[in-house]
Every structure is written in structure tokens, then in C-alpha cells.
Symmetry: C2
Subunit: 683 residues, 2 copies
């Protein structure tokens, strides 16, 4: 309260930077930053707790711009508050290799918490950040030591609210009673197609109340700073519900085209900029001209934030004396390093161990390692009993009032919300104290494709426990049997796709996934039992691909993954009875194999021997490692899995038949290993 | 009203078939069919209009089982009413090559309208079917001639309601005031993880009211047939809102484990089946024993349906006399054939025509053909001005009361709801009178992956106008630039992915997409301008891949798609200046090229010449057609598109450099065309 001209000068400076930034880029979205500058100002200057000199302070309030196209707003704020983002960086908006790309990217830009732009993702990340705060507080806070008590604030627009993912995460946030989450809905009535009345006429406050949220409406977001501040404080005080402030704003406020979709996605014209600056007392002749008093004013809040962190650090020092184990654990978690020796808990197997489904092997891994990895927080999209993602005696992450668990619980009931689960995992990872994994059927990771893509782009460590990974799921049939899914995610940069063949490979999958600090993983796991293979070891499997079965003077190399590796091993015998010698390569993870030295790869795929791949789904991608491919470039079939395998000839005989054809076809030809390449790929 | 013992006998017969079917399959979901048998009985026996002898009657009521795992319910109903689905078919539930797969598949089973199972899709299909009815009625109905006036009924469960896609389509359905849509929510409190109170505690009726739906609650769905019927009739009478009936049921009603999640996804045990049958007076010693009186009772309703169709046919005959053009148009549409000569409207180009973005070329196609293809109904997920999907003077599909259009309008404002849009298109296609297309950025087709997959599986003709198809979109940056997307959808069976290089190829894309009655298409289109190529013709391009530029004694073949084909043509000159001869192949659609005869394919990719692919995204899949691949196996960059192309060397020089390396690398080797294969793929 007590806002003065200086506040408005600051607000108009934010607007001006958005206007000048998009004009200089000749591209971008000035409208939302101009409309949301008042609430951004109030939030950052009066409400939020942050230290621009240490954007990684664990107890900072988190800010998420779910309408990421409005990022000139966020970049401007970061600059004005003194984060490592200069005026030159603003001038480089939307230029190649700048730290101010067209949408905010967390891995590149200090102060950006999560990568947003694809609509609806940010509010999902915000729910994840709020869940992480609740969990971290419940785990680490002690009487008199509020180690983390931060809030998460999220701006979002009509587009985010139309996307289904926001519905998923908002419903869950209401269920979880996340009082630490405050969303500000930029109700500007405009989307790209024009007025929102053409497609979006629902009653948003009523919908959010139905989810269990506290909803406040502010009628004049353009001018009424007092009401904005009061609404934010009201929401802070609601401890058992997430809050939404529905804020009526004018898109492009100050422009001649204010209130229209003309200001949504294109820079203002020069004459419009001129009148805008003149109207608000800004220098119309110099772009990016921030008054010094605005820098000074924001500098005060930045200094207050630094002081707040200092005070927190003193508190944390005392905490570390009183609770040395907890303090050390928290500090370690924030580095992303795992506790020393955790990997000794990974189970290993010998061929005499019994056949087990790899989803079950995954459960065994989780059960064995969870004690040594307290940051591991799991869940499932309502398939717990099928994904086997919950170790025995786990506690659910739930509001205590439900009687079903507590916030220190490490198992999340996501509900049937795969896309939301993916975005929430990105938020959990971004918080810094949690290593999330979550389960669904492999086929339904596709529902979450938008979130998985952002896991990869923003370089976070999430793990998808993707069970029921092929036609081997049997009776559920083609609607549930993945065909294109592995190709899809293998084609995604910075994403590891694992498909382990047995127990040792399952342990290897987890080992690499858990120790890859900047890469998400999808571990594809079988419903059906798999034998423990001769030749499979943890050491071999962490290379991504290795020779499982070597044969002197081999006629053919079979390369396979997961549940078909053992069928290939059986096919070796069938081939032997036909006088053909076959090697078998197991390739649990292409991406990891690709990163091995060429010499090693040539030992796995030597020149001179034709290679045939075996995987009962799309053959796409296997041409990179093989001369011939045995796969399934059609949809599967519903039936007991052994019948389905038989139908498509994924049997020792079916494999042997095609392997023999491969040998015959390549006879007399020079055979080059596909490892040899003419030039380096851009990766 | 006036329900008797016979009704209960019928209801228990439905339950029995679900129990026996899942028991025989040793797999499947008996719980929901047992719980929903009463409402299914009331709906089919008292409310719905259908003729089992002609499952394709255009004015039938549509029934969608969004909770598709409950399909033994639907199969049982189809059998009992006399559709071509025998008792033996029920006994073959979940067996290989049966017409009763684990989840309902529309293309295989008479009476199944849409393919469901992946949660949330069915309600999206239902919204599409209801929109199609509204549009068809507005287009064809005349005073006294209600050509179509059917309703769409949809069963859905908690899982569907948790999925974001249902939120998207329900919000739109409310906006569109679809009074012809009635959803029945099976409120059984149980999902796979147990009681829904662990993750789903929102107020569903309030949420649906917020969407603008009429909501009725029936408290006792297990016993109160009168209230069920009354609720259905109440909803039928609400003409300007979609309706939801929240029906409290007991999952697995009649089982010893009724009301628990034990009956959700596993067959009942033998002793439980025995007590169930004894309790309801069914023969406990014989499975699948339907009392004849139940068949007779259902037969009456089937006969009434046949009579209703007969009456409709007489009305339609008169309509055909009064409105011969309309009647002929409707009849034609239902065959899926396009009007004769429509293709003459496809624009063609010569190299002297100016450079145009392929998204704009797509707009030109739509503008030229819409007049001759009245079934074409388009839309966009709030990117109309970017996708260029709306021809000038188009009318929006809107409730007349909005003043923004009418139901005869052929342009749908989907809002930012890609996944919902995909499911709605599947419903629009399934209705039979509409050929839907819709736009979004290529990158965001991934949000709709779940729906696209079902388009392919259920063999419907939808077209995605997927603009901004590469790093060529420029400034929006990596969050919006597809890398994995083409590989993903190329790996999906029965899905055509087009990436045309110029105007003739754009026309070819539409030609093949529109004439492929059983295959969906994704047409990837550029934001940036593309020159009209020498050598590109409609006739060439409809082969999927062809030699654009031939060169005697070529050293290398360059194969490319879309916006990079012209850069390859320029690279030919760069290579010539280095003394190297290059051919250029344009490959707008791999799937269509794959279907050409081998002889043709060998003329495009002859033996003896090394092939290099050029596409600025994941190289995955290109190994199938090339020896070396120039692509982008990393995320893109934000900047003006020419700078981004330069950064990654997608320039004539960058291509020539790698082509020269390819020639050098393969020198002195036997080079086999990748068209040669050792054995046939399973497609």
C-alpha cells in the first residue's frame, strides 16, 4: 500500500523494456508484459522474497511464467533487480546464442526457474514446486527452524487455462491443499484467435473453486495496486488451499491497440511506441532508457532479499548445529550428488536366479535403494499396482487432514493425469531437493510428450517407470501396445530411453538414470517374466549396448532390447541347428551406447558381419545399428502375450528365419559396420 | 418407467456376460460393466434409437464407451441386441484375431462407433460426434425433414474425468451449447489405486456447471431405474447445454468384492461367480447362458429400431424428392467418396511463380477446394492467423446465440486445446458426414499424440495442418521448434506425414490426404517462404518421393524434404564448383514412397551412388533411405531463421561440405541402395 509515482515509473519502465525489446527483436509478445506489469511490480517489490545475487537460494520464493511468451516481462524484472542479465542481454532478445531466447529456458538464464512457453506447462511446474516445498518443509523444518517456507507464484493466461494439463495439475493441487501456491490469472479476454468469447466462455473461478482452490477477483488490474497487494496477502493467509487471483487486465495497456489481439504477438509500431513513452513520461528518443531511480528502487528490494538470505543463513547455521545430519543431507541434495555408496544397494543377478518381469525388477531396485536415497520421491498415474512403483511401507504424500499420509510422504498419488505428472516432475526436480520418478504404461508416456520434451530441454533428472512396454502386455491390445513410442523418445534429444533385458540391466538402467544429473530417463519395463541372462552384468549394461553372446566366425549379429533379448539367445540355438553362427548384442540404451568410443562400438558391431535388429515395435531408428530390421510396423493385437508373439513370429523360429535371410542376402557383399560414419552428427 | 423382473433379468444377463467373458479370457474388467449394467439397460432399452441390422444408419443415436476397459458391457449389449457379434465372439474376448479385443476398436467390430480405452479419448470423440450432428442438422435438415436429430451418449468414469483431455473437450462442449450430448459419469469412487479420495476429491458437478453443462445427480444407480430414466429424459429436454448425469454406482455390483478395486481389473473368482449367479437366479453351471426371454425382450427394441430406420427412410425419400441436391450430397458424403472433379481445383505452380510459405500454400489450397468439398470442416487450436487454416468469408461453427456464427459454419474455434481437438476430429470423422482438418504448430501436435494414435488405429481420415515445422520458425526458439516430432509420427503405423517443398507438393499432400479414406495425415508446413521448384509436379509428388534433379554420373544423391529441398538444389551448384555431381530427391512423404513398387524406388535411389539425407531435425528414420544423415540431433535455437540455419550449417555450403565427405567416405566401396532389403517388413 502507499504506492507513489515512483511505483508507476517502475511499472512503466517494465512495460517500456518489453516494448523496446520486442521492437528490437522485430518479434515477440509485448501485450501480456504491458498488461501484467502492475501485478508483476507489486509481487516482486512488495511480496516476493528473493536474492538476485544468489538465484539458487533454496528458500527463495519461486516465480513461474506459465504464459512464457510474455518473457520480456520476466527478463525485464530480472534485469531491473540486478540478476546477471544485462541491458545488452535484453537488446539481444530472440537472437541466436543470447540468454534471452523467445521463451524462457531454465538451464541458460539466471533467475529462470523452469522452461515455459508451451502452454499449461508452467502451472504444472508451479504445482510441482509447491509440492516440493511442502515435502521439503515436512522433511527438514524443525521447531524454530523454518528451513523452507517459501511460496510459489505463477502467472498464467487464458491459453494455459484452456490446456488440459492445467486442469490435471489444478485438480491435484486442490486435493493436496497446497496453501503455498498462488496463481495469478491474467484475465485479458484476448487470445490469438481474438476475443476469448469465441472459444472460452466457462466460469473459471467456479471451476477452480470446484477443484478446492481459494479464488479472489481483482477487477482493475491495470490501476488498482492496492487491491492487487491485498489479494496477494489474502491468498498468502489461506494455508490449506491453493489460491487463484483472477485479475482483469488490458492486454497491451498503454498502446494505441490496447485490448486487442494486435498487441498479443507482434511488436508495437514506432509511432505507437512514441506515444506510449510520451504518455508515461518516458524518453521517447532513447530505447531501453531505464530511469536511475527505478534501478535504485528495485535495488532496495534486492538488498532486502540479500539481507533475508543472510538472516536465513544464520538460522541455517544454528540448524546445522542442532540437526547436523538433516543439514548435511539438505546441502548434499542441493548439489545433485547422491550419497556415497548408495549404488552398493543395487541388486545383481546370476543366470540361475528365477525369471522375473522387469517391472518387478524395477520394484526390487526401488525397494533396495530408497533407504539410501531419501530424495527419491515416486508416484504413479493411478497404476501403482501395475507399475509396481511403490515400495512396501511407503507413506503417501497427502495433506495430513485426509488421514491418508502426510507431506513428508514419498509416494504421490497422481491420479490418471500423465501430462500433469510430467510437468509436476519437472517442478519437483527444479526445486532442488527431490529426485522424482513416476510410473505409467509406456504407451501413455505419450500423453505427457509435451512435458517430457521440456524435461529434456531444461535438463532435469526425472525418471519414467514405463511398464507394459510392448505387445508383451497382451490382452489389453493395440490401444495399449506401444509401437511408435520408443522411436519417439529416442528421437528426442537429451532423453535416455532404457529397455532392460533382465535384472542386471534393470539395475544398470537405474544406475545411469540416477547419476545423470542433467538428463531425464524413460525406463521401459515388461509385464511378462524375463530370464536372467548369461553375459549380462551391471558393468556391461551401463555402456548402453554390449556383446551378450560372442561367437567365433559368426555369420550374423542379432541386436535386441528388453524382453526379446532372451528370445534372440534362443534363436542362436535354432540357427546353430541350421549351421549358422550368431552373436547377440543387448542394447538397453541407444543414447548411452552412442556416447561410447568408436573403438568400443566397433567391437560390438564389427565390420564384416551383417546385423539384424529385433524389437517388436516400429523399426524406425534401428537402421542406425543394423543392416536388416525385424520389427512391427503395424499395430499389435489383443490376446495372451504368447499368442501375440506367435502371431507376429517373435519366436526363436521367426527370428532365425529372418536372420538366415539376412545372411543369405548379404553373402558376398562387403559389409561395413554401421558404426562407421562419413561425418560427425550435430548433437 | 414400469420396470419389471424382466428388466432385472436382462440387467443381470449383461452382468453375467461381463463376468463370464472376463473369466473365460482370464483377463479384463468386470467391475464397471457390473456397476453400469442398469444404466446401460435403461439407455439402450428405453432411450436410444438404433438399428442393429444397420449399424451405419446415419440418424442412429451414438453411444461411446469412454471408459473403454469396460468393453464387455458394450460387447454384451451388441450381442444381446442382435448386432453381428455372436456368443462365440464374446467367448473369444481378448483372444488373438477376435472382434472382441481388450478395448473397443471401431474398424473391426460392428456397432462400435469409436476406438476407446486410452482414458479421456471417448468423451472427446463424443463431443466430436455431437458437433457433427449439430453441423449436419444445420446443413441438411429442412422444415418437416429432420434428416438427423440423433443424440450422442457417453459413459465415462473417474479416469476419464481426471485426464486433461476431457477438461478441454468439456469446456468447448459447454461453450458450443451441445444439447445433443449426454454424458453419464460412473461415480463409483474406485480407480486402480483404490478409493478416488486418494487423488480425486474435486466437486465434479460444480466443475461441469462451470463449463456450462446441465448436471443431474442420481443417487442410486444400482437400483433406481426410474430415476435413471427420468434423468435421461430431463437431459434430452435441455436443448442448449450438454448434460452430465452423475450416477452413483457400486463397482462390481453383485460380486463378493463389490465396491472395491479388486473387481476393477481382474476377473471374479469361480466361487464369487457362483454366488453371483445364484443370487440373481442365473444358471450357475453354464457360462454365457442368456435366458431366451432376455433375447426376446431386447429383440423388441431392436425391431423398434429397425422400424424407426424404415420410417426415417421413407421421410428421407421424400426429402430426396424435395431437396435432391442435398440428399445426393449427404449420400455421397456417407460413402467417403469426394465429388467428381474436385481435384481440378488444386492449384499448380511453375518455377517462375513467386516464393511462398507452405503454410500460405496450404491456405491457397483450402481456399480453392472448399467450394467443391462441402464436407471439409476446419479449425485451429487458437492459431488461426499463424496456421492460415481459415479461408476468407468462412463462417464460424458457433451456437447462433453467440452472434459469432452458426452450426452450419465450417470453421471451428477449438481454443488452445490440441489434444481435445484431435479427439474431436476423430469423432467428427466417425459421424460420417464430415472431413475434418485442424491446425496447430507441428511441435504441439505432440500434445495430441494420444488422439493422433487413435486416428491411425481407428483408420479415420483427419488432416493436421502442422505449421511452423522446423527451426525455420526462428525466434520462438527451442520450446517451439520440432526435433523429434516427424520421427515420432513417421513411426506411427497408418499415419501419413507430409512435408511438402513447394506449391505443387503442397497440393499433392492435400490430394493424397483427402483421398485416403482410412488414414490420417499430418502436413508439416513452413513459416518461411519457399521457392517453386523446377521438377516438382503434382504427379511426381503424389508418389511420396521422386527424383527432383537428375544428373548423369552423379557422385552423390541428396534426399530432403520441405524447406530444405531448395537449399539442396543450391548445394548442387556449390558441389559442381568443386567438381562433384549431385542428384536431388524430394521425399515429401515416406509412407507413400514406401508403398511404391521396388523398381520405381530403385530409380529414385539407384545402387552405386551414396545417399545423404538433409532435414534439420532428428535424423532418426533417415538411415532407411540414406547412407549418411545431416540433421539436428539436439534442440534448436531462438533467433531470426536465417541466423539459425547458418548456426547449424543448413546452408548450401554446409550441405556441400557433408556431401563431399560422404562421397569421400564411400569411395571404392560397393554401394547398395537401401531400397534392397533381405526380407519383408510386417506392416
Amino acid at each position: 500500500m502507499g504506492y507513489t509515482d515512483l511505483d508507476w515509473k517502475a511499472i512503466n519502465s517494465i512495460r517500456m523494456l518489453a516494448v523496446d525489446g520486442t521492437f528490437a527483436a522485430n518479434s515477440g509478445h509485448p501485450g501480456a508484459p504491458m498488461g501484467m506489469a502492475p501485478v508483476a511490480h507489486v509481487l516482486f517489490q512488495k511480496i516476493m522474497k528473493f536474492n538476485p545475487k544468489n538465484p539458487k537460494w533454496v528458500n527463495r520464493d519461486r516465480f513461474v511464467l506459465s504464459n512464457g511468451h510474455a518473457c520480456m516481462l520476466q527478463y525485464s524484472l530480472l534485469h531491473l533487480y540486478g540478476y546477471s542479465l544485462s541491458l545488452d542481454d535484453l537488446k539481444q532478445f530472440r537472437k541466436v546464442d543470447s540468454i534471452t531466447p523467445g521463451h524462457p529456458e531454465a538451464h541458460d538464464t539466471p533467475g529462470i526457474e523452469v522452461t515455459t512457453g508451451p502452454l499449461g506447462q508452467g502451472i504444472g511446474n508451479a504445482v510441482g514446486l509447491a509440492m516440493a516445498q511442502a515435502h521439503t518443509a515436512a522433511t527438514f523444518n524443525k521447531d524454530g527452524y523454518p528451513v523452507v517456507d517459501n511460496y510459489t507464484y505463477c502467472f498464467l493466461g487464458d491459453g494455459c487455462l484452456m490446456e488440459g494439463i492445467s486442469s490435471e495439475v489444478s485438480s491435484l493441487a486442490g486435493h493436496l491443499q497446497l496453501g503455498n501456491l498462488i496463481a495469478i490469472y491474467d484475465d485479458n479476454h484476448i487470445s490469438i484467435d481474438g476475443n476469448t468469447n469465441c472459444a472460452f466462455t466457462e466460469d473459471v473461478p467456479k471451476r477452480y473453486e470446484a477443484y478446492g482452490w481459494h479464488v479472489v477477483t481483482v477487477g482493475d488490474g491495470d490501476n488498482d495496486l492496492d487491491s492487487i497487494e491485498a489479494a496477494l496477502k489474502e491468498c498468502q493467509a489461506v494455508k490449506d488451499k491453493p489460491s487463484m487471483i483472477k485479475l482483469r487486465t488490458t492486454i497491451g495497456f498503454g498502446s494505441l491497440k490496447a485490448g486487442s489481439h494486435d498487441v498479443h504477438g507482434s511488436p508495437l509500431k514506432a509511432e505507437d511506441i512514441k506515444q506510449f513513452k510520451e504518455k508515461f513520461g518516458l524518453n521517447p528518443n532513447e530505447p531501453f532508457a531505464v530511469p536511475q531511480e527505478v534501478y535504485d528502487y528495485y535495488g532496495e528490494q534486492a538488498a532486502a532479499g540479500a539481507a533475508a538470505e543472510e538472516e536465513w543463513s544464520q538460522m541455517f547455521s544454528k540448524y546445522a548445529e542442532a540437526y547436523p545430519a538433516e543439514a548435511a543431507d539438505l546441502k548434499r541434495r542441493l548439489t545433485g550428488e547422491l550419497p556415497k555408496g548408495w549404488e552398493k544397494n543395487l541388486p545383481t543377478y546370476t543366470p540361475s536366479d528365477s525369471a522375473v518381469a522387469s517391472r518387478k525388477l524395477s520394484e526390487i531396485v526401488l525397494t533396495k535403494i530408497e533407504g539410501s536415497l531419501p530424495e527419491l520421491v515416486g508416484g504413479s498415474a493411478d497404476l501403482t499396482g501395475s507399475n509396481l512403483t511403490r515400495w512396501k511401507d511407503s507413506t503417501d504424500f497427502q495433506p495430513p487432514s485426509t488421514g491418508l499420509g502426510d507431506y513428508a510422504g514419498r509416494y504421490i498419488r497422481y491420479g490418471v493425469r500423465e501430462h500433469g505428472m510430467g510437468a509436476i516432475m519437472n517442478g519437483l526436480s527444479a526445486y532442488g531437493t527431490i529426485l522424482p520418478y513416476a510410473g505409467t504404461f509406456l504407451n501413455f508416456v505419450s500423453y505427457a510428450a509435451g512435458a517430457v520434451r521440456l524435461s529434456a530441454l531444461s535438463q532435469v533428472r526425472n525418471i519414467w517407470v514405463a511398464t507394459h512396454d510392448s505387445i508383451g502386455l497382451g490382452e489389453d491390445g493395440p490401444t495399449h501396445q506401444p509401437i511408435e513410442t520408443l522411436a519417439h523418445f529416442r528421437a528426442l534429444p537429451n532423453c535416455m530411453v532404457w529397455r532392460p533385458a533382465d535384472g542386471n540391466e534393470t539395475s544398470a538402467s537405474y544406475y545411469v538414470a540416477l547419476t545423470s544429473k542433467h538428463t531425464p530417463s524413460i525406463i521401459a519395463l515388461s509385464r511378462q517374466n524375463l530370464p536372467q541372462l548369461e553375459g549380462s552384468t551391471l558393468k556391461n549394461a551401463i555402456k548402453g549396448g554390449y556383446t551378450l553372446h560372442e561367437e567365433e566366425g559368426a555369420d550374423v549379429t542379432l541386436v535386441s532390447t528388453g524382453s526379446e533379448v532372451s528370445i534372440c539367445v534362443d534363436a542362436v540355438k535354432t540357427l546353430a541347428s541350421q549351421g549358422l553362427k550368431a552373436r547377440v548384442v543387448s542394447m538397453p540404451c541407444m543414447e548411452v551406447f552412442d556416447s561410447q568410443p568408436k573403438e568400443y562400438k566397433l567391437t560390438v558391431f564389427p565390420d564384416g558381419i551383417p546385423i539384424m535388429s529385433v524389437e517388436p515395435m516400429s523399426t524406425m531408428g534401428w537402421e542406425k545399428y543394423s543392416h536388416e530390421q525385424f520389427g512391427l510396423n503395424r499395430f499389435g493385437a489383443s490376446g495372451p502375450y504368447k499368442d501375440v508373439y506367435k502371431k507376429f513370429e517373435f519366436t526363436p523360429e521367426g527370428i532365425a528365419k529372418r536372420a538366415a535371410a539376412t545372411v543369405e542376402f548379404w553373402k558376398g557383399n562387403t559389409i561395413r559396420s554401421p558404426v562407421n560414419r562419413a561425418f560427425q552428427q550435430i548433437i
